[in-house]
């Protein structure tokens, strides 16, 4: 097990290094210059060149990359933001990660049960209306672009908050201070049910928008896995011996269909964490997605972009590692050597 874990961690580290290197190079190939952008209407070429030299941007890119990895490995410091003066990227990300985690968790909370229930229903009532509904719903869910869905939700549910995490007026009353950064938890810890309701209301639309694609994918995979299992001999035998349909489904079929479902659900959670950029931007959600989108599109903030990439890679590979370990636990037939 330890050997397996070591091998998986090494694999994950290589993945992070390759991904971050690609981002590091790609962001420097983008048009625009973050220092020039900061001078606005009043560029001072002499000073811009001084700063380029100071940041080491005149060196070959492999040297810059080497320096960056060395700095991260030895100090853990991802650098200072180029657009937000004197602001440590570590601090910026620390403030934003909880917002993204809370949004992702809420989206999973909607997507996973919905996807599993829809997939099971579609398999049980195969070729009947629940199946058609699930198939059509999955197709629409996968096809509809998140930004379009987000805008539609914003226009339809006008009675729900469409921007930010919490009502500003409520949050300043009583001087609410966050503890963990997860507002649904912090508001309860602070004994503020009014703020909890506000935080929940602000979460509904972005979480709904973010959950559509994973819910659709989980439903499709669950349906396919359940159809396989439901056709198996042992279930036919169980039914013949008088086991009720729903007992067979929940107690016997679903656990056996769980491996592919958990696999795809885990991947979806990873994708949600990394892919919340559009949803966060549409709903002004102050998470990592908004931060990285602003860094790429607005400020060309190299440091912020590469730091964001590292964090997302780390989250993604950690999640995959956890999933692999979960499979071993879920299905003893899976051997570590496999």
């Amino acid at each position: 097990m330890i050997r397996y874990l070591g091998w998986r961690i090494a694999h994950a580290a290589v993945t992070v290094i390759v991904a971050v290197s690609l981002v590091f190079i790609a962001v420097r190939l983008l048009p625009g210059n973050p220092i020039l952008a900061r001078f606005g209407q009043h560029p001072d070429i002499e000073k811009i060149n001084e700063l380029r030299e100071q940041y080491g941007w005149n060196d070959p890119i492999y040297q810059q990359l080497g320096r960056f990895f060395w700095q991260v490995a030895t100090t853990g410091d991802l650098g200072n933001s180029l657009s937000r003066v004197n602001s440590s990227v570590n601090d910026e990300l620390r403030q934003r990660i909880p917002a993204t985690v809370e949004l992702t968790a809420a989206a999973c909370f909607i997507a996973l049960p919905l996807g599993v229930i829809a997939g099971v229903a579609a398999a049980v009532w195969r070729n009947r209306w629940p199946d058609w509904l699930c198939t059509a719903g999955s197709l629409i869910g996968v096809s509809i672009p998140v930004f379009f869905l987000g805008i539609c939700l914003r226009e339809v549910f006008v009675f729900l908050p469409t921007s930010q995490r919490i009502d500003p007026l409520l949050s300043i009353s009583g001087n609410f201070q966050s503890i963990t950064g997860l507002y649904l938890i912090d508001t309860l810890l602070r004994g503020r049910p009014d703020l909890w309701l506000s935080a929940a209301a602000h979460l509904i639309l972005p979480a709904l928008a973010l959950s559509t694609i994973p819910a659709a994918i989980v439903a499709k995979i669950t349906r396919a896995a359940m159809l396989d299992v439901l056709a198996a001999d042992y279930l036919r035998t169980a039914r013949a011996k008088g086991c009720s349909l729903w007992r067979c489904v929940w107690r016997h079929a679903l656990p056996n269909a769980a491996v592919p479902v958990v696999n795809i659900a885990g991947l979806q959670v990873g994708l949600l964490l990394s892919g919340a950029v559009l949803t966060e931007t549409i709903f002004d959600w102050p998470g990592m997605g908004t931060y990285i989108a602003t860094a790429v599109l607005g400020d060309k903030d190299y440091v912020a972009v590469q730091a964001g990439a590292i964090v997302i890679c780390l989250l993604f590979v950690s999640l995959n590692l956890l999933l692999d370990l979960l499979f071993v636990w879920l299905d003893p037939r899976i051997r570590l050597s496999e």
């Binding site: 983008l30 048009p31 625009g32 210059n33 220092i35 020039l36 952008a37 900061r38 001078f39 606005g40 209407q41 009043h42 560029p43 001072d44 070429i45 002499e46 000073k47 001084e50 700063l51 657009s83 937000r84 003066v85 004197n86 602001s87 910026e92 403030q95 934003r96 914003r154 006008v158 009675f159 729900l160 908050p161 469409t162 921007s163 930010q164 995490r165 919490i166 009502d167 500003p168 007026l169 409520l170 949050s171 300043i172 009014d194 309701l197 506000s198 929940a200 209301a201 509904i204 931007t281 549409i282 002004d284 102050p286 908004t290 931060y291 602003t294 607005g298 400020d299 060309k300």
Partner: protein
């Protein structure tokens, strides 16, 4: 059979009840002491010397005061932290008498040392209390030779040359007076928690979420009517307006034209529009053939139907420009009339130029365009398309090259373009800021804004005289003559002056759009009911 089962009914209804409960509970109670202002993005820094980003400036303006300030509604200069001032006869020594009894938010006393520190941070090459090298406005204070503080309430500025724009530059936000004690104590954290003497003091800044300011009870003008001011970033134009309509925020700015029209129809809202101190223009690179021919430049000017351009490229929310100096500003030459839209005349000029300069028609020219919207030009690509169609009529085949905004201006500043779209938002209320910055030969270099590389000795002489002349009445004819030279030589074709737009709740009183674009909320009141 679902309806017969009470628990099923409950399970179906409860999500709806839950949502309604949430919505009901999150409606903010009516209040009059806290104003919520939504702007397009979060500030990047709040240290006045390190920024020129509008969203930072909106906060800085309310946290700090300057020595002199603008009148609430006009661009007339009025005393602020300086009660009065005198100028020596040679125009090189400016003596300011400071207001007594003014406190910074950290309760330390405002005095001449704070003024000296503020300007030293702006102009000296190195300063121990300067935490970022990017100072966009450094050049605006380069005329200061040294600063003396003979008394805590007297400060003397010794200038290298007499400068008629010095006083105007003191009213600009970079010259906001900072607290020396806070700078020394907070160090680089000052950029997050700035301390000034302004009507509001910083309380809390959660990046990308909300910035909370509190009314400063000991402000020298008296406590502001608002107890709290919350500034929230809402990037999307439509969401900003939606939140305003729902009463979640009270004031929004940077409205898209169609949103402005929609807000104008809302009975509970006020939509304000005001001609801004800006210009969008077409730069013609006069060092390159055939644009070195005045006739070609004049032909291009005749070929552009500015009224149609305003409708197409600005959604009708801009004024056609004749001069680089906007009409709302002092020094604008009202006698100038735009080159009339006259395709026949334009073709005639092109034919004459072709013979004189020995080139063949049709001409192939390139237009450089920024790919992002700018405050003075919301739809650069559409404007480029319009110009392409217009110039085809007179025998010019235009190719359009779009670039990222920073790359675009780099390209223009280094003179690599033929035609280029550009614009300018004024830093101060002086015509010098448009004419000298954008057209004077002193500004032809890699960091200069004379993108057309226009050189005219008479024009240069007039502008230098204008900078030295302290008498406003004597300055005016100098700028009028300078504008006529630009009009005749056409190194640029002024296209439009964008309007500033804001929308707010009718419960708000005392708010006015200011021509400088400054958002000053020290006198704003939030009433319980809508004001007529």
């Amino acid at each position: 059979m679902i309806s017969s089962h009470p628990s099923s009914l409950t399970s179906r209804v409860s999500p709806l009840v839950f949502i309604l409960a949430i919505v009901g509970c999150t409606q903010p109670p009516p209040q009059t002491d806290t104003l919520i202002y939504a702007q397009a993005s979060d500030p990047r820094t709040l240290d006045p010397v390190n920024t020129d980003i509008a969203e930072s400036v909106h906060v800085i303006t309310n946290v700090f005061d300057t020595l002199v300030s603008y009148h609430d509604e006009t661009i007339e200069l009025v005393p602020s932290l300086a009660e009065k001032w005198t100028v020596s006869e040679d125009g090189k020594l400016w003596t300011f008498n400071l207001r007594d009894g003014v406190l910074f938010h950290d309760e330390t006393k405002f005095d001449s040392a704070a003024v000296k520190l503020t300007f030293d941070r702006l102009r000296l090459k190195k300063h121990p209390l300067l935490f970022d090298d990017v100072r966009p406005y450094e050049s605006a204070y380069a005329m200061i030779d040294r600063i003396e503080t003979p008394d805590p309430l007297v400060v003397e500025f010794y200038l290298k040359e007499p400068s008629a724009i010095f006083l105007t530059n003191l009213a600009m936000f970079p010259a906001s007076i900072v607290s020396p004690a806070a700078l020394a104590k907070l160090g680089k954290k000052f950029a997050d928690m700035p301390i000034g003497t302004g009507p509001f003091k910083m309380v809390q800044w959660n990046r990308d979420q909300q910035l909370v300011l509190e009314g400063f009870d000991k402000h020298w003008r008296g406590a502001p009517p608002l107890k709290k001011l919350i500034i929230v970033p809402v990037k999307d134009n439509t969401t900003r307006v939606q939140r305003l309509k729902r009463g979640e925020v009270h004031l929004v700015d940077s409205l898209a034209p169609h949103d402005f029209d929609a807000v104008s129809k809302e009975p509970q809202l006020v939509a304000q529009e005001l001609s801004g101190m800006n210009v969008s223009y077409l730069s013609l690179q006069v060092e390159k053939s055939p644009l070195n021919s005045r006739k070609v430049r004049q032909a291009i000017a005749h070929a552009i139907d500015k009224n149609a351009l305003i409708k197409t490229g600005f959604d009708g929310h801009a004024a056609p420009a004749v001069s680089m100096v906007p009409p709302a500003m002092w020094g604008h030459d009202a006698s100038l009339q735009s080159y009339p839209y006259d395709v026949a005349q334009a073709k005639k000029l092109m034919m004459e130029a072709a013979v004189e300069e020995k080139f063949k028609l049709p001409l192939d020219l390139n237009l450089s365009v920024m790919s992002q919207a700018r405050p003075y030009m919301p739809q650069p690509t559409i404007i480029a398309g319009f110009l392409k169609d217009s110039l085809r009529e007179i025998g010019i085949n235009l190719t359009v090259s779009g670039r990222d905004v920073t790359e675009h201006f780099d390209h223009l500043m280094s003179g690599r373009h033929q035609l280029g779209l550009a614009g300018w938002t004024s830093d101060n209320s002086d015509p010098d800021n448009f004419l000298y910055q954008l057209l004077d030969p002193d500004n032809i270099n890699e960091k200069g804004n004379n993108l057309s590389r226009f050189r005219d000795p008479k024009f240069h002489e007039l502008l230098l005289a204008g900078q030295r002349e302290m008498n406003l009445e004597k300055r005016l004819p100098l700028y009028l003559e300078a504008q006529q030279i630009v009009f005749r030589e056409v190194p640029v074709i002024p296209l439009a002056h964008m309007q500033l737009r804001a929308a707010f709740s009718k419960r708000l009183s005392g708010y006015h759009l200011h021509p400088t674009g400054l958002v000053r909320l020290g006198k704003v009141k939030l009433n319980a009911e809508a004001q007529p």
